[in-house]
C-alpha cells in the first residue's frame, strides 16, 4: 500500500472516507486522499485513483478485480492517456473497499462484473488523469511564472517556454498543494496509449510465480482448514465424531460451521487427512433429494403451459394457430460449474475489533458486509484486500458470499488466522451453477420464408430471486437475466412472444460468464438456423435480411463471414456454422468450422470471430478475451454438464467435468471492428455465439441437429438416426 507514496493503508482509508462525502467534482472523481500532509510530502495524490511519487512513479489504484481480463492494464491506460505520463513508470495497485471505489453505475457496491470495467470507468479515470495533468501544469507554470496555456505535458514531463521542463516527480509536491480543477478538460489530438496493443503490467508476476492469489496468502501462525460438506444442498450436520480426525498429526481443531464440519490443521494435507477420518451423520431434507432427470421432465411439462410475459409484439399464438405449417423445437442446456482454475478459498484474521480478509473477490462490498455480520463487527472494521483471482467467471461475485462466510465462521471459532481452501470436488459440488434451462419455441414463416411468428417459452431458475438484488432486478416476475438475448432479440419478427417460468428448487444458481446469454444465444441462433434451412435460404443471408435495422450486428456478421470465407467449398465431412449475438454492449459474430470423422467424433477446427465493442483501449486484450470466451464457451458446448442424482452432484473433478485442452483447441482468429461507438464489454460477449456456431456447423456437416448441450457423440448419433 505504501509503495512509492509513503502513505499507510490506515491513513489512506481514513482520508478517503472523509473525502468520500461532499468534495466530489462535477464529473464524480472521488478525491480520495487530497490532503498533502496525509499523503506525505513525497507524493501527489489528486484523487482516489492516482499517486505520483517524487521517484516519478505513477501508481494507478484499480477498483476492479483482475481475473484474467486485463483490468490492471486497461484501467491504468485510461488514466495515463489523459495524464500524459511515461507509461514505463506506471504501476497498478488494487484498491481497498471504500465508497469512492464503488461501481460507477451499479450503485453503492464495489463489484467487478457484467463486463463493465472499462465502460463504467472510462469517463471517471479519464477525468482523474486530466485533472492531475492540469494540476501538474499549473504547478510548473507557477514555478516559471508563466500562464498554464504556455505549458504542456508529455511523457511525464511538463514543457514550458524556452525549453523549460520539469518532471512530474519534481512537480508532485507543489502540485499537491493546488486545488483540484472542477472541470478538467480532456485532451484533444492523437491518442498515445489508447488503441495500442500495450503489454500487460501484470504479466511478469504471473509467469515467475510471484503473483499472489488468494490461495497463496500466508502469514506466520496461520492454520489451514478444509470443510466436510453435506452431500445434498440444504443438508445439515446432525452429529459428528471428531476423534479420528483429531488423532491425525497436525490437526488442531474440528468444529461445525453452517457449511459443514471444518477440520483445521497446520497445513492443507493434515486438514485433508483429518477430514477423511471424520464420522458425520447428515440430515438430508426430502426436498433436496432431487435429480436433474426428474427436473427436466418437470421443465418440459412447464414449457407446454403459459408463463409470465417477457415480450409481446403482435399476436404470435393467433398467427401460429392459423398457420399452415409450424416449426417447433425444444432446446435444453444443463447446469454448469464455473470451475475457475483456482478453487475457492479465503484467508481471515479476525480480532476482537477488526477483521482482515484476503481473497480473490469480485464482490468486495457484499463480501465485506457479510463478513461483518458473521463476525459481529461493523463493516468499516472489516478490511478486505483483493488478491489476484485465479479465474472468476461470476463465481467470485457470490450473492451468498459463501466462501467468505464459512472462513469467517472458522476464524471466529479458532481465534487464529486461518485460510479455508476448497478442494476441486468441494468447488464443483458445493454449489452455485449456471441454471439448467429448457426452451420451447414454435414459429411459422411468411411467404418469403422469413419468421412471421415466434412463440418462445423459457423455463429455468432465476439467479436473482431470493437475493438482496431481487427488488431491483426482477420486475413483474421477470428476471431480466433469464430472458436477456431472447426477449430483446434484434431479429425483425412481427409476432414475437416470449414467456418465462421460474421454478424454484434447492440448487444454488449464480451468474456464469455471459449469464442469460449463455443459454439464449444457443437457442435463438440454432432455431433461427433451423428456420433458414427450412426456408431453403443460406443461414448467413437469412440473418442479414432480418438485421437490416441493426448495422452494428450486421457489420460483425458480415465481417466474420467474409474472414471465414463463408461460401468457399469445404471437404466432405466438414461444415461451417454462423452465429451472432449482442451482449454487454458489444456485438460478436463467430463462424465455426468443424469436421466429423467416421466414428462420429466432432472436432472444431477453426473459429473466426468479429467483435464491435465500440471505442477500444487495448486491441490485444480484446483479442485475448475473444479467444478466452470462445474456449470457455466451447468447453460448455462440448463437455460441460453438472447433473444431480438423489440430490448429489455427479461430477467432481476434471475427469468428469472436462474442459477443452490444447489438443482440442481450434485455431481462433479475432477481428476487432474499428468503431467510435460508446465502449462495450469484452470479458463475456465472446462466449454466447460459440455453442450455436458449432451446433450449426455440425448440422451443415452432417444434417444432425443437436438441440441439447453438451454436444456429445451419443447425441450426434441419435440426431443422425432420426434425421
Amino acid at each position: 500500500m505504501s509503495e512509492g507514496t509513503g502513505i499507510s493503508r490506515r491513513q489512506f482509508i481514513k482520508t478517503s472516507a472523509l473525502a468520500g462525502g461532499g468534495l466530489l467534482l462535477a464529473c464524480h472523481i472521488p478525491f480520495g486522499n487530497r490532503d498533502a500532509a496525509a499523503a506525505g510530502e513525497a507524493s501527489f495524490a489528486p484523487n482516489a485513483f492516482l499517486r505520483i511519487g517524487t521517484d516519478e512513479s505513477v501508481t494507478v489504484i484499480v477498483n476492479k478485480s483482475e481475473m484474467g481480463q486485463g483490468v490492471y492494464t486497461s484501467l491504468p491506460m485510461l488514466l495515463a492517456e489523459e495524464l500524459c505520463c511515461d507509461w514505463q513508470k506506471v504501476r497498478f495497485q488494487p484498491s481497498p473497499v471504500a465508497p469512492e471505489y464503488n461501481h460507477a453505475q451499479f450503485g453503492p457496491i464495489m463489484v467487478t462484473g457484467g463486463s463493465t470495467s472499462v465502460r463504467s470507468e472510462w469517463e471517471r479515470l479519464s477525468l482523474a488523469g486530466a485533472a492531475a495533468r492540469e494540476m501538474l501544469i499549473a504547478a510548473a507554470a507557477g514555478r516559471w511564472k508563466v500562464g498554464p496555456s504556455a505549458c504542456r505535458a508529455e511523457n511525464g514531463v511538463v514543457l514550458g517556454p524556452g525549453g523549460k521542463q520539469l518532471s512530474f516527480g519534481k512537480l508532485a509536491a507543489s502540485a499537491a498543494k493546488l486545488a483540484v480543477p472542477r472541470e478538467p478538460r480532456l485532451k484533444t489530438g492523437a491518442r498515445k496509449l489508447l488503441g495500442k496493443p500495450l503489454h500487460r503490467l501484470d504479466s511478469p508476476a504471473k509467469i515467475n510465480g510471484s503473483a499472489i492469489f488468494g490461495i497463496d496468502v500466508a502469514v506466520p501462525g496461520m492454520l489451514t482448514a478444509v470443510i466436510a460438506r453435506p452431500p445434498v444442498f440444504g443438508g445439515r450436520v446432525k452429529s459428528f465424531d471428531a476423534s479420528g480426525a483429531l488423532a491425525v498429526p497436525g490437526v488442531k481443531r474440528v468444529l461445525a460451521v453452517d457449511a459443514g464440519v471444518a477440520v483445521v490443521g497446520d497445513g492443507f494435507w493434515p486438514a485433508m487427512n483429518g477430514r477423511e477420518k471424520l464420522q458425520i451423520i447428515w440430515e438430508e431434507p426430502e426436498e433436496s433429494k432431487i435429480s436433474t432427470s426428474a427436473m427436466r421432465e418437470e421443465y418440459a411439462r412447464l414449457s407446454a403451459t403459459p408463463g409470465l410475459p417477457a415480450r409481446k409484439d403482435g399476436d404470435a399464438p393467433a398467427v401460429l394457430s392459423a398457420a399452415k405449417k409450424r416449426f417447433e423445437a425444444e432446446y435444453e442446456v444443463p447446469y454448469l460449474a464455473h470451475a475457475p482454475m483456482e478453487p475457492l478459498n479465503c484467508f481471515v484474521d479476525l480480532k476482537a475489533d477488526s477483521c482482515l480478509i484476503r481473497t480473490g473477490s469480485q464482490f468486495q462490498t457484499v463480501d465485506r458486509n457479510a463478513a461483518a455480520r458473521v463476525a459481529g463487527l461493523k463493516p468499516e472494521q472489516v478490511t478486505l484486500e483483493t488478491t489476484f483471482l485465479g479465474g472468476g467467471f461470476g463465481r467470485r461475485a457470490c450473492t451468498g458470499s459463501d466462501f467468505v462466510i464459512e472462513a469467517v465462521q472458522v476464524a471466529k471459532a479458532i481465534k487464529l488466522p486461518v485460510k479455508v481452501i476448497r478442494t476441486r470436488e468441494d468447488d464443483m459440488r458445493a454449489g452455485y451453477y449456471r441454471p439448467m434451462w429448457y426452451d420451447r419455441i414454435t414459429a411459422c414463416l411468411d411467404d418469403k420464408g422469413l419468421p412471421l411468428a415466434w412463440h418462445h417459452r423459457i423455463v429455468g431458475q432465476s439467479i436473482i430471486a431470493g437475493t438482496p438484488f431481487e427488488s431491483a432486478m426482477v420486475k413483474d416476475g421477470i428476471d431480466d437475466t433469464s430472458v436477456e438475448g431472447a426477449a430483446n432479440t434484434p431479429y425483425a419478427i412481427p409476432n414475437l412472444q416470449v414467456e418465462l417460468h421460474s421454478p424454484k428448487n434447492a440448487v444454488p444458481v449464480l451468474w456464469w460468464r455471459s449469464v442469460g446469454h449463455s443459454h439464449t444465444a444457443f437457442v435463438m441462433e440454432c432455431f433461427l438456423d433451423e428456420l433458414a434451412h427450412a426456408a431453403g435460404i443460406d443461414p448467413f443471408q437469412y440473418r442479414r435480411r432480418l438485421l437490416a435495422k441493426h448495422p452494428r450486428t450486421l457489420k460483425v456478421l458480415e465481417t466474420a463471414a467474409k474472414k471465414a470465407g463463408w461460401s468457399k467449398p469445404l471437404p466432405r465431412g466438414h461444415g461451417r456454422g454462423i452465429a451472432v449475438h449482442e451482449s454487454f454492449g458489444s456485438f460478436v459474430a463467430q463462424v465455426a468450422e468443424v469436421s466429423i470423422d467416421k466414428k462420429g467424433q466432432l472436432k472444431v477446427l477453426r473459429v473466426v470471430c468479429a467483435i464491435d465493442c465500440g471505442r477500444i483501449v487495448n486491441p490485444d486484450t480484446i483479442k485475448a478475451q475473444m479467444e478466452s470466451g470462445i474456449t470457455f464457451g466451447l468447453s460448455a458446448a462440448l463437455f460441460g454438464a453438472i447433473t444431480l442424482k438423489n440430490g448429489r452432484v455427479e461430477q467432481g473433478n476434471f475427469h468428469d467435468y472436462q474442459l477443452v485442452r490444447m489438443q482440442g483447441m481450434p485455431k481462433v482468429e479475432a477481428y476487432v471492428i474499428d468503431s467510435n461507438e460508446p465502449p462495450g464489454g469484452v470479458g463475456e460477449p465472446g462466449v454466447p455465439p460459440i455453442a450455436p456456431a458449432v451446433a450449426n456447423a455440425l448440422f451443415a456437416a452432417t444434417g444432425a441437429r443437436v438441440r441439447s448441450l453438451p454436444i456429445t457423440a451419443e447425441k450426434i448419433s441419435v440426431a443422425l438416426g432420426k434425421g
Binding site: P197, A218, G390, R424, M662
Partner: protein, 156 residues
C-alpha cells in the same frame, strides 16, 4: 525428515513422507508459484521438474523425491527464452495455470528444441487453462523453437 534439492539448494523438511510435494513446496518452503488445481494430476497447475522430468507435484509424495533434484517455476531464470516468449506473446490471462504451463513447455523444449504441433499437443494437453490461452501458448512455444524470443520476440 525428507531431504531433497529444490532449485539448486538442499532442503530438509519435517513432514510425513506421504505429504504431496506440492504442499511441501507451498507451505513448508514458501514456494507458492506451483498451484493447486485438482489434487488428482488432472490439470497440470502443479507441474514441477523432478530430475528434469515434468511431474504433477499434487500426486507425488514427497518421500518419492528423496535425494532428487526438484525445479519449480521460481527456479526458472527471468531471462529464460520460454519466459521471454510468454511475455512477447502476451500469454497470461488470470495467470493461475501459467507456472505449470511454463514448466511443461520448458521440459518439452529441452527434449525437442523445435517441436511440431503434434509434439505440443502431446506435451501440453495435460495442462488445463480455463481462460483459453492455448493458442498463445502454442505460438510462444513455436517462437522459442524458431529462436524468435532471443531476438526480443514478436509483438502479439
Amino acid at each position: 525428515m525428507v531431504v531433497f534439492h529444490v532449485n539448486g539448494k538442499e532442503r530438509r523438511v519435517d513432514v510425513t513422507p506421504d505429504t504431496p510435494l506440492l504442499w511441501v513446496l507451498r507451505e513448508k518452503l514458501g514456494l507458492a508459484g506451483s498451484k493447486f488445481g485438482c489434487g488428482e494430476g488432472l490439470c497440470g497447475a502443479c507441474t514441477v521438474h523432478v530430475d528434469g522430468q515434468p511431474l504433477r507435484s499434487c500426486v507425488t509424495p514427497v518421500g518419492d523425491v528423496r535425494g532428487k533434484k526438484v525445479m519449480t517455476i521460481e527456479g526458472i531464470p527471468e531471462n529464460h527464452p520460454v519466459k521471454k516468449a510468454w511475455l512477447a506473446q502476451e500469454v497470461s490471462q488470470c495467470g493461475y495455470c501459467q507456472p505449470g504451463q511454463i514448466m511443461s513447455a520448458v521440459a518439452l523444449l529441452k527434449k525437442k528444441p523445435k517441436p511440431t504441433d503434434a509434439d505440443i499437443d502431446s506435451a501440453m494437453s495435460g495442462n488445463l487453462c480455463r481462460c483459453g490461452t492455448y493458442g498463445r501458448i502454442r505460438r510462444a512455444i513455436h517462437a522459442v523453437g524458431a529462436g524468435a524470443s532471443t531476438k526480443g520476440g514478436k509483438k502479439p
